[in-house]
Amino acid sequence: MSARILTMSRAGREALDWEMERRDDIFCLGEDVYKFGGIFGTMDGFGAKYGPERVISTPISETGFIGMAAGAAMEGMHPVIDLAYIDFIGVCYNVLLNTASKTHYMSGGAVKVPMTLLIGTGGGYNNAAQHSQCLHATVAHIPGVKVVYPSNAYDAKGMLHTALRDDNFTIFLTHKATAGVGWMGTPIKTTLSEVPLEDYTVPFGKVKIYREGTDVTLIGLGMSVHECLKAADDLAKDGISAQVVDLRSLVPLDRDGIMAAVAQTGRLVVTDEDYLSYGVSGEILATIFERDPTILKKPPIRVAMPDIPIPFSRPMEQAVLPLAEKIAKQARKLMA
């Protein structure tokens, strides 16, 4: 069948629309979703199409409506929740930490909680310390929740189909800069993909090799994948062949895939827009270190958000983001 070039936003919307057309168990809720279609337009036009019963604009009561979603899931529905910014998890964290993630286990498998929580992450557009965080490690540290993080349109559609057909609680992250929505300017080219019209699934727990390379591996997730790609372009000018790996999924984490990819180059820069310490970059390094450090010719390097609140002003924010220039610089160090 035919495919079109889509943004992540449109691709994700297609998956949700497909499932909603065919299944009664899915409904959407979140702030302003009825009129605005969700932060990434994943529910764009759904208000008119599916009506206010299935596309529910909620009060600003995240503990209330995400907790309700968990209850509806226990009763056989599959709610799809829009939580615009991951910075807001602070007001509803218990539902994530203790309710939606642990009920299946605490009930010995008797109760299922199939629900999909869409959350936007990341900065780079001067929205300051309370609207620019990634915090993906915070949610991935919770046992009992799957955490996925597509960075292109093809994966966005396929992984959303997968999430919607999964019997578990999935946190589906999208970096705001990758989605291709109006308020973030012209979409980043590498986020766009050919997207098949029909439905398809992309399995969780497999890294994606975005670009083959032989000299150095650049690992990223969300927006930092695209910074890695930019860095790889830049490195290519120097004749350095960089492999770019997208983690795509934090829970489950494809540890074998990481090992296999890194082994191909023997040099590693891990990038992460989330805070450096106690996060994803550490887990990747630890995995390699405990499994087989000899696959690396040199110690790995991390390029991550330092452990500081995110500053508003552009010169400061740009200085702390894990941007392509910094990634390329570290890769060059490894090649020296």
Partner: protein
């Protein structure tokens, strides 16, 4: 259903069964914990919050519900679970951490789930409020009947989830009842120290909900107030804050010395009071009442025996049920502590 003698007899049966559950669990709890107290010791480890004194709430509310209705309880769930008809054997086994437990030993006493009777519970204060409202919403979307009932303590009414959920219930006109069990205490803190107004049922007005207050800790009165709330819910007239004065006779949890409770705040035991009332009303004779109490104890002894006789889960079962449909935790086992 009117308040028939049969119904009232069943309240007494349920109250005594719930009490037998708690009394026998309390006795077992102290095994292995004396002379040196330690939460983790003995055949019934962990914290234990018993329902002694709150049985009228379980009996009266559950008596007014139908099989369709959905319940969430809190850290003190026994009376509600027993009166709802949660499988007694498997609940007892769960408290003892046995393989035959409702959660195969994964949950313990604060995490009682029995989907066959639409019962769930959890241990974070007010955590069950929003999920209960969501269950009600699910049923509406599914065009299936069902009222959701969240059981919380009066202490939980000062938690944000209370407010957010009730506002959502009001906006969405959901068939929902929150049962606020006012036993006067949240651990050592009295209601007047924690709550700016006297009655949480008055807070219903903030959400366009009905508020009802029952002062008696008597299952008949609780039943009738619940019947009204359920009727409103089923008629699409929205939710109710149903505050019920009740008692906490066995402390906050086992080990609580309750030195903070002054003499004048000592609470009455509702079971002998109800027994006397039923005798007075001619619903039961002394002999019948004795027989019910004896039967309740015996039934619970049987559940206890089932629990004690059941095997523990295998250690490796800890890794099951992390995810439905196969555990992706496995890759982590290797790297982790299971090694």
């Amino acid at each position: 259903m009117p308040l028939t003698p049969e119904l009232r007899r069943s309240f007494f049966e349920q109250m005594t069964l719930s009490r037998a559950f708690d009394d026998q669990m309390i006795a077992l709890y102290w095994e292995g914990k004396l002379p040196i107290f330690q939460f983790g010791a003995g055949p019934l480890p962990g914290e234990l919050h018993c329902s002694n004194g709150a049985e009228p709430v379980g009996a009266g509310v559950c008596g007014a519900l139908s099989a369709d209705d959905m319940l969430t309880a809190d850290h003190r769930p026994h009376h509600v679970a027993v009166c709802r008809g949660v499988d007694l054997d498997r609940m007892a086994a769960e408290l003892l951490g046995k393989k035959t437990g409702l959660s195969q030993g994964k949950g313990g006493h604060m995490h009682i789930y029995d989907p066959s009777v639409n019962f769930a519970s959890s241990a974070i204060i007010a955590e069950g409020m929003a999920p209960a409202a969501g269950m009600a919403l699910a049923r509406r979307l599914q065009k299936r009947p069902g009222v959701a009932v969240a059981f919380i303590g009066e202490g939980a009414a000062n938690q944000g989830a209370f407010h957010e959920t009730l506002n959502l219930v009001g906006v969405m006109k959901l068939p929902f009842i929150v049962v606020v069990q006012d036993n006067e205490w949240g651990v050592s803190t009295s209601k007047s120290e924690s709550t700016a107004i006297e009655r949480n049922s008055d807070r219903a007005a903030s959400y366009g909900l009905a508020g009802e207050f029952v002062a008696s800790n008597d299952p008949d009165d609780i039943y009738e107030a619940t019947v009204r709330a359920v009727a409103r819910a089923r008629a699409g007239q929205g939710g109710t804050v149903l505050e019920l004065k009740t008692a906490r006779l066995a402390g906050h949890f086992m080990g609580d010395q309750q030195a903070y409770i002054p003499e004048q705040m000592k609470q009455a035991d509702p079971i002998p009071l109800y027994r006397a009332k039923l005798l007075r009303d001619g619903v039961l004779t002394e002999a019948e009442a004795d027989a019910i109490e004896t039967a309740s104890k015996a039934r619970m002894e049987q559940a206890m025996q089932f629990a004690k006789d059941s095997p523990y889960p295998e250690p490796a079962e800890a890794f099951d049920h992390v995810f439905a449909g196969g555990s992706e935790a496995s890759d982590k086992q290797e790297a982790g502590a299971a090694a």
